[in-house]
Subunit: 515 residues, 2 copies
């Protein structure tokens, strides 16, 4: 069986099930269902605060084969997943599926639970560090399922991803389960990725180190979705949760890329009143924001919104009137947290509102300009941000596919070569985002426009930008680096890459060299 | 068939269906289901703003027998329900059920649609004015269904009340359907009663007279729940939406009642750190707040929250530090709207979060003190706020039953006689709220404690308050007024009174004298 992109995928994958192959970014639309939810009603005088995590695990009655979920707002400072898994392992529970919105290096102890069979399934939008390596080595019994941020919300809301128990790390909680991320030692700001878990899991428990008098405010997740609350000493390490500041790159090559990307944006005609913009927190991405800011200021343009994970840099643009509002699914730095807490124009969005394709309209649908990264791009503009050039999992879509699909202008910014390897290939090892969603690739040596965007190409021809075909760009790099040899993979599928609509866009196979 | 209160109810009511008789305030608890929702996904470049209401009605395809819904935040200034119904009547649609959270005198044109068969069903939490009279006269084909604020949210979320199309009056909306009530000519503040409609209707349309650039903020109801937006000239008359200020009564009898109610509160021991409080917007209710405020200030007590429909008076208490937060399901005056807009401690709550008994914990569950009104009370403490002493519908539960059930101390404040008729009866004409939920009745002549609250009676005996039994209180009034003759009713059931859990607590029968 082949996807519309020509990738070979089995029609049935052991441990995953029947495969619905990817058929195009908007092939699966129309009438959709948000699933029914069972809940246990709470009456006056019922107590939700439990004495300990052990007490909670007794009440939650987690049994072999269940799916438990976590959100990743505490990023590489998260203590909650590890603490919960340690206790569950000690209880002898087996065959759990961990549905975490993302997995970071701090979650290394999960590898042991994978090896011991406590965890046999993993569903995440992004996996990095030791767990990613363990999955790539084929240690997980079932293939990992890699989703997008919007796709995860869709999967949960549709009932495709059923969560038995959601563990919600809560920087602040009151005794009835009202939660926010803006106060407490582990403050992380927006809790956008946790919303679907809270709303759709059979049971939900807030784990907090900052229990405040009722009612907490602001309320990001309401008491009506929380069964229990447990207080522990610490839910996370602030140093791993947010950076103090996010900085623009000083690398001269990255600055050239950023400048060119901004010229592409300008030439596209999208720098206009009401424009919208999203970029990541990486140095090059922020440099694009810095360049774009100059143009917006120069042209006196006020945008409508910036969205996504929010940095202090976007906050400054908001405060300077360059955007009317921010949509924040997670805060990347302290300045973003403070702004989100204090400025009503800096708004909350759930992962579903952000990028779920099966709602009445996600925020990405209104996005004009999206700045994206890539570990590989192929000559069909397909992008890989899931595996490294060695075929080992080192990330995942996150919001990549969601924003690429929604935005009017999706720009991949990347060095033409990284670690002496070319970025552009005939075929990417893993397709994360389909080429149809990518409009242009900007490198320090040249710019390639997707042939489907003849309109954009015409506009860019009016500039002095170094335009070339993606094939030419590929050759340019290969002249310097030579043609890299392909990665050899075995038949074993270690991860299934789901597109945002739940179809399978690719699989990750076990790399022969990493055994 | 009898309810647990001994009211005779048929086990099947034509036009309503099988009856589940009321069995006690918390008899229907445990595992509950929030129903599945079908929605049509929206993709980039889909336009949600339609050119006119006519265009919208074409798209919405409303056919005979459907249920359409409205919220009542524009109260007696609402133009939306009338405009929509006028257009639907012109289109010849028949047999509609109107599920409006409340019906006011301004909705008088609905009577014509009832008479002509355009509307044959009505579901509401509160009905006053000409529509109430028309229902009482038996003009509606099916019995009206009268719910509570929390019960309506429960009915919608459970799927019991299925809404085909929700019409959402939106004081502010953007072109993707983000809605708030705090800006625009028809600003009304919180849109708490509209949330379940938006989330669970098959189709939703925002009708606004204030279309703002994307994205609107704050967002009370998200774009992900809105199919279409239509702009019209005016959605409501500000004079009918909010009062400029809400005032405390100057009536000396009401002030005595308020003072005594506050002494009851004080004696109950509930004036303490973290206390919570709710009262209505009526003069006597506000007078209780004023008295309570003095005591809280005197004792240096800081409460946790006040809730419900919010008035400027509660805003002042928030601002003076007497409460840490307000939970606002609707704003009664301009001061409340401004506070709700500007003060993060003044928080939004949906009707479901307010009072739905089938969530993981409504706000009413945490309520200490609730001040309630009554048109009649019987010697079992059952309260009627649905029908007048003539048996004609003049209101409904609203949040009466929800708050009475949830609160630790539910106090009915009322004059012992109104319009020369005694308020306390052997049996109320219609039971709205069961006596079990009522703790004490405070009148200007005496105070009666529910015998189930022996603990409270003991505390009140330590005061000089004029305690008596409810029977003694009844006799006291009858000595002055004589025993009123009962209202004669026919067999015909004109309204079914649903308790918050969806069981039937009573029925309203057609009054013989109003034919």
């Amino acid at each position: 069986m082949k996807t519309i992109l020509g990738r070979e995928i089995p029609d049935y994958i052991e441990g995953y099930g029947h495969v619905r192959p990817f058929q195009g970014a908007f092939s699966d639309v129309g009438v959709k269902t948000r699933t029914a939810v069972k809940l246990t009603s709470v009456i006056p005088n019922d107590q939700k605060v439990l004495s300990s995590l052990e007490d909670a695990l007794d009440k939650l009655n987690i049994t072999d084969g269940m799916t438990i979920s976590f959100h990743h707002h505490l990023r590489n400072g998260d203590y909650v997943l590890n603490k919960v898994m340690e206790r569950l392992a000690a209880r002898g529970v087996k065959d759990l599926t961990v549905a975490a919105s993302s997995i970071f290096p701090i979650h290394a102890p999960l590898v042991e639970h994978i090896e011991s069979g406590v965890v046999t399934g993993l569903v995440a939008n992004y996996i990095s560090g030791p767990v990613a390596e363990a999955v790539s080595r084929g240690k997980l019994k079932k293939p990992a399922i890699m989703q997008t941020h919007g796709g995860r919300a869709r999967a949960i809301e549709s009932g495709e991803l059923h969560i038995d128990v959601a563990f919600l790390a809560a920087p602040t909680a009151d005794n009835y389960g009202n939660i926010n991320g803006v106060y407490g030692d582990a403050a992380c700001g927006s809790l956008g990725y946790a919303v679907a878990d809270a709303e759709y899991a059979d049971k939900t428990i807030a784990i907090t180190d900052h229990l405040v008098p009722y009612p907490a405010y602001p309320i990001e997740i309401s008491q009506v979705f929380i069964d229990y609350i447990v207080q522990i000493d610490s839910i996370g390490d602030p140093k791993g949760i947010v950076s103090g500041t996010t900085r623009i790159t000083k690398d001269p090559v990255a600055l050239i890329i950023a400048k060119r990307a901004t010229e592409v944006i300008k030439a596209s005609g999208l720098v206009r009143e009401g424009m919208s913009f999203q970029t990541g927190a990486g140095g090059t991405s922020l440099a694009v924001a810095a360049e774009l800011k100059k143009i917006m200021q120069h042209e006196g343009v006020a945008g409508s919104f910036a969205s996504g994970g929010i940095t202090g840099y976007l906050v400054e643009m908001l405060e300077e009137g360059l955007f009317r509002s921010l949509f924040d699914v997670q805060c990347f730095d302290l300045k973003a947290i403070e702004s989100y807490r204090d400025n009503p124009a800096h708004q909350f969005m759930s992962a579903s509102m952000y990028g779920n394709p099966h709602t009445k309209g996600a925020v990405v649908n209104n996005l004009d300009i999206m700045i994206l990264g890539a570990t590989e791009i192929d000559t069909d503009f397909n992008v890989n941000v899931t595996t490294g050039s060695n075929g080992v999992i080192m990330g995942g879509s996150g919001g990549h596919s969601d924003t690429a699909a929604g935005s009017k202008l999706a720009i991949v910014v990347t060095n033409l070569m990284k670690a002496r390897l070319p970025i552009i290939k005939d075929k990417v090892i893993t397709v994360t985002t389909p080429g149809d969603s990518i409009d242009v690739v900007v490198t320090e040596r040249g710019i390639a426009v997707n042939p489907q965007r003849g309109d954009l190409l015409e506009k860019l021809k009016m500039t002095n930008l170094p335009l070339m075909t993606i094939g030419e760009l590929k050759l340019l790099a290969e002249k310097i680096t030579g043609v890299p040899k392909g990665v050899e993979t075995s038949e074993k599928i270690v991860a299934v890459v789901e597109y945002r609509d739940g179809s399978v866009i690719d699989v990750v196979r076990k790399v022969s060299s990493v055994s």
